[in-house]
């Protein structure tokens, strides 16, 4: 009996009525779809569209100037802490809400964005010095950058580079603060895929709003296992 690999491949060839001859040339695929949007990346119509889509998915969007990032990050973290502390009194929700904890950041994040936080509050994570899953679970929020955003679908893509970090850090904490530069916003999915295709081997996470389920009577519930709150800082 031949091994499974040989046999499966032989079955495939037989099913196609082919021997081990050379493969047919790739078919010419009709690509009549839009390779790009009508608006330039980072242009105002594209930004407005992104904001509209993000809000539609119940993400919180903040349009800020570069110098304001640190203040807004500090304010959002403060808010998270206040909510978490209040929830701790309510036994029902406390189980699902993390206690006030530190803010996780990837070690390549622009430190200027964290200037409004006290140094003790921040824990850096790196591939060679990773926090444990339990430590991430105890964090109150994570702040990351992004690789690209797609306006039409309200999607932000992280590709795990040092300013975005390991995939786990933007997953386990309950609040994700994601800083997106306006020049990173493209209109369509193909524009983003082409850009990401320059480094296809990087692990990617495409995020469109907070996690959600519609499994119970198709009633949408935001926030299941991923972060239940997504803040997007759109920085010009």
């Amino acid at each position: 009996m031949s091994d499974a690999r040989t046999e499966v491949l032989a079955r495939v060839r037989e099913a196609l009525g082919r021997g081990t001859d050379a493969a047919p040339a790739p078919a010419v695929v009709p690509r009549g779809y839009r390779p790009a949007g009508e608006h330039a990346p980072g242009s105002e119509p594209v930004l407005e569209l992104l904001v509209d889509r993000l809000v539609d998915y119940r993400a919180h969007v903040h349009r800020v100037a570069g110098a304001e990032v640190a203040d807004v990050v500090a304010r959002l973290v403060e808010e998270v802490r206040t909510v978490a502390a209040a929830d701790a009194d309510d036994s029902h929700r406390a189980a699902a809400r993390p206690a006030p904890g530190s803010v996780v950041v990837p070690d390549g994040l622009d430190r200027a964005w964290l200037a409004g936080l006290s140094g003790d509050d921040v824990r850096a994570d790196a591939r060679d010095e990773p926090l444990t899953a339990t430590e991430l679970d105890g964090a109150c929020a994570v702040v990351t950058a992004a690789r690209v955003a797609v306006a039409e679908t309200g999607t932000i893509v992280l590709d795990a580079e040092p300013d975005q970090g390991r995939r786990a850090i933007s997953l386990v904490p309950d609040v994700h603060v994601c800083v997106v530069r306006t020049d990173q916003v493209v209109q369509t999915v193909p524009e983003a895929v082409r850009l990401l295709g320059e480094h296809p081997g990087r692990p990617q996470t495409w995020i469109s709003g907070p996690s959600a389920t519609s499994d119970i009577e198709l009633d949408r519930v935001e926030g299941v296992h991923g972060p239940r709150t997504l803040h997007v800082l759109l920085v010009s």
């Binding site: 079955r11 493969a23 009549g32 999607t155």
Partner: protein
């Protein structure tokens, strides 16, 4: 809303236990007509499914409508999948090369048993008795959970609906929303009875139910050593795999454990990374009716320091090469499991997923299941041939034509006497008349197959164009009487005599 997906007997306590886990996930329960009879008697189920499917249909229509180049995307998706099938041996080898080069281990499995053995072997080597799972049709199809249970390994489903189905010892009834047949009260009862750490004062508010599942699963995510997933797409030229999901349970499984095992049908390939730009537009809008699903994960082999440091990819045949060998039915392998065809199907809407007796229900199940198993089946009759499935399919699978072809073969294969063929044909036509009498939109369906029109015009068909020609070659078929679906069922009932309701 508490009766939205309720049981017919509203006064009785909800039934927690489901239909049980079958030995063969592709062939279980009563025959389609018998199972459908039971389901059709359940007015509540029909109403609930009607509500649910019409909700998804409307969502899909809205987000598809806002894409100006939708048809061009469908054409590209269809052509890409055709190309994949034509070059499948080389693309599989290319995928294997690229996954291996990035530190992954590729396994090949001829059938379900072999795939299960491979996964069990990997899990055993990790000395763990629990694995977390991402919702996956391929692992449903091979009955992986049951196989692992025999090895003493608990496979924990982490998708909310799959968890509900698993806890209730039930079977999924929809590709995308496996617990579509359960209402919120039943789900609360299932959690209270079967989930040890469910809060005792749990109500049936969906948000609370979801949070109970979150708390229940979080500990498992944080401690799991091994995860098992399926894949929506595999990119041959880079070795990249993609999983599309909503809840974040997929990300948990794909990111936190040390070891990841992905089981994938050999047809799930796309040729190049750029081709994802087509499918990542087609799938979410067709499936959940969202512009994009909340989370999509892409990974390529092993990334040092990020995510699982051991990655196994199991490439599964399990009947797929049989489907591939069938030129007329081959395109069933193009399916990207969006479930749009279920949601528009007048038959699915009325009988629900369980009647199909397969993990693949609805129109795609009616063609894929018999092709995968190669067994005799009445599933090709589970259709009115109204053509709605073809119109919504994001990769343009011509399901009605394949159904007609499969019906023709059933009749040929059975070597049936002409009167048997008559009955089979009549059954199909009556099913059609039922749906069309019941909803004007199907009467207006643009793509009523030529076979039906031929019947309407002449009393007797003598010759149909291929593939119907296979059927009409040797016999004339009388025009079916004008009879409603309910009359047909009633007649069947009388013939069936003493059969018990709901037998399985």
């Amino acid at each position: 809303m508490s009766t939205f997906l309720g049981m017919p007997d509203a006064g009785a306590p909800a039934t927690v236990s489901g239909v049980g886990r079958p030995d063969d996930p592709l062939h279980w329960g009563a025959t389609f007509p018998d199972a459908a009879r039971t389901a059709l008697a359940d007015e509540q189920l029909r109403r609930n499914l009607g509500n649910a499917t019409s909700t998804i249909r409307a969502k899909r229509a809205r987000v598809v409508g806002e894409v100006p180049d939708w048809e061009a995307l469908r054409d590209a998706g269809s052509a890409l999948k055709t190309d994949v099938m034509t070059r499948l041996p080389e693309l599989l080898e290319e995928l294997e090369r690229n996954v291996t080069a990035r530190g992954g281990v590729v396994h090949w499995a001829r059938d379900a048993a072999e795939a299960n053995r491979i996964v069990a072997g990997i899990v055993r080597a990790k000395e763990t008795d629990e694995v977390v799972k991402v919702k996956s049709m391929a692992t449903q199809e091979i009955g992986l959970n049951e196989a692992l249970a025999e090895e003493g390994v608990a496979a924990v489903e982490t998708d909310l609906a799959e968890l509900i189905v698993q806890l209730a010892d039930d079977m999924p009834s929809h590709i995308l929303v496996p617990a579509i047949h359960r209402n919120r009260t039943e789900i609360r009862d299932i959690f209270l009875e079967r989930m040890a750490d469910a809060p005792p004062d749990l109500t049936d508010v969906p948000r609370e139910l979801a949070m109970a599942a979150r708390a229940h699963l979080r500990r498992k995510f944080l401690s799991a050593k091994v995860a098992v997933s399926g894949a929506n797409f595999a990119v041959a030229d880079t070795g990249t795999l993609a999983v599309v999901e909503s809840e974040g349970n997929g990300r948990m499984c794909l990111t936190l454990p040390e070891t990841l095992v992905t089981v994938m049908g050999i047809e799930k390939l796309v040729p190049t990374f750029d081709d994802l730009e087509v499918f990542l537009q087609l799938l979410p809008r067709s499936s959940t009716g969202e512009r994009m699903n909340p989370y999509t994960s892409l990974w390529t082999g092993v990334t040092p320091g990020d995510g699982p440091q051991e990655f196994h990819l199991v490439l599964l045949d399990n009947g797929r090469t049989k489907v591939l060998a069938d030129e007329a039915g081959r395109s069933a392998l193009h399916c990207i499991r969006c479930s749009a065809c279920l949601n528009v199907c007048p038959v699915y809407e009325r009988v629900g997923g369980h009647a199909y007796g397969s993990v693949y229900p609805g129109p795609i199940g009616a063609i894929l299941t018999p092709q995968l198993t190669g067994e005799k089946s009445d599933l090709p009759y589970a259709s009115t041939l109204c053509g709605a499935c073809y119109q919504v399919c994001p990769v343009k699978i011509d399901i009605p034509s394949i159904l007609v072809e499969l019906r023709a073969r059933e009749v040929e294969l059975s070597g049936a006497a002409p009167d048997t063929a008559d009955r089979v044909w009549q059954a199909a036509m009556k099913a059609a008349s039922y749906a069309m009498a019941d909803g004007g939109r199907f009467r207006r369906a643009a793509r009523l197959p030529r076979a039906l029109r031929a019947i309407a015009r002449h009393g007797v068909i003598r010759r149909l164009p291929f593939p119907g020609s296979l059927w009409t070659r040797s016999r004339d078929l009388p025009e079916p009487p004008r009879q409603t679906f309910h009359d047909w069922w009633a007649a069947r009932e009388r013939r069936a005599g003493t059969r018990q309701e709901g037998e399985r």
